[in-house]
Symmetry: C2
Subunit: 177 residues, 2 copies
DNA sequence: AGATCTTTTGCAACCAGTTGCAATTAGTTG
DNA sequence: CAACTAATTGCAACTGGTTGCAAAAGATCT
């Protein structure tokens, strides 16, 4: 049930409507917990029903827009949740299954997926580097910024690792193609 | 639909019954695509219905044991799948959501989850290192072994990164506790 | 033989993410 | 003003992983 808490987090930053949330999500909490707008609407409904959030109808815009804001009970629920503990998300990656299959099938078509992934990781890496330059280069950082930078660095390392892994795996399987 | 292919892969290595598979799974493909025995039974049923696998009743053991083996159509389906391409699995991690919340709530209780995760990553790291010593140290490796070593190295790096990340985040948030 | 324990198989309900589409309302244009 | 488009909200069905539990059948014990 992390989506609800991600939403509470986003609404605590600024109150907003479902669509606003859905948009902001992509560039904020949704980075760590992606969600579609349908999921978001469904969850907002549940949060309201649970009394963690309240909505007020909004005129002067299209559709029947509602603005949501967090109630004290919602903030409390978020605090409780933050203090809890989860196991790390399970690894579950089709590419790695493919690599295992390759060993059996003697068929180097995994290269397709490897190349695709390599390209994506390189792209992601480039994006992260751009963000690093834009937001964190050559300037003093406060605590919150340092934390965000830490997250970015972790992402950078991860993408670099993955790209490196793809390259090495490609080198290995393409020897006998 | 990767579980079905993970199963085909496992069955191609050795035919076996549902339970045998479920046991082997934990130490093989299931590492990259975990599954419970209920999932496995359900999926074996579907695979059989789809004509990719056939089962033969097995006497001389408890329960109504069935042994499954892959049919040519199954092998074909696996080959086709291996040649396909998937997007990398989406990142979805409650810990990172918690860290974002922490910035808002000024409440350093994320430390709970961070410490828990740190311990798990360190444990995992130790396990991987043991495997590295046992299986890959100081010996020549053939192609399949090199590939497996590559996977292990990737896992090692990942765990090391994660542990490092947890440590740094802890240092950061515990300053003002 | 009957009770019960273990192995093996499996059903059913649930939960959460995904996909496709529809309904409502407001601005915009011909 | 009618038709159309865009923004906003939302339903419904599907898929796949999770959980809890139960049925079948041989093994074991008394």
């Amino acid at each position: 049930m992390s989506l609800s808490h991600a939403l509470l987090n986003a609404l605590l930053e600024y109150p907003g409507s479902g669509l606003e949330l859905a948009r902001r999500f992509d560039r904020s909490v949704g980075f760590f917990w992606p969600a579609t707008h349908q999921q978001i609407y469904r969850e907002l409904g549940r949060l309201e029903e649970a009394g963690l959030v309240k909505s007020t109808a909004q005129d002067g815009s299209r559709g029947r827009k509602k603005t949501y804001q967090v109630l004290p009970a919602g903030r409390q629920a978020l605090e409780t949740w933050v203090a809890q503990v989860d196991d790390p998300p399970a690894l579950r990656d089709a590419l790695l299954v493919r690599l295992r299959c390759e060993a059996l099938l003697q068929n180097n078509s995994v290269a397709n997926d490897l190349k695709h992934r390599l390209a994506q990781h390189q792209q992601q890496l480039a994006d992260y580097r751009a963000i690093e330059q834009r937001d964190f280069a050559d300037r003093p950082l406060n605590r919150a910024q340092t934390l965000r930078y830490l997250l970015l660095q972790s992402g950078l390392k991860h993408e670099a690792n993955q790209a490196e892994f793809c390259k090495r795996a490609l080198a290995l399987i393409e020897v006998d193609s």
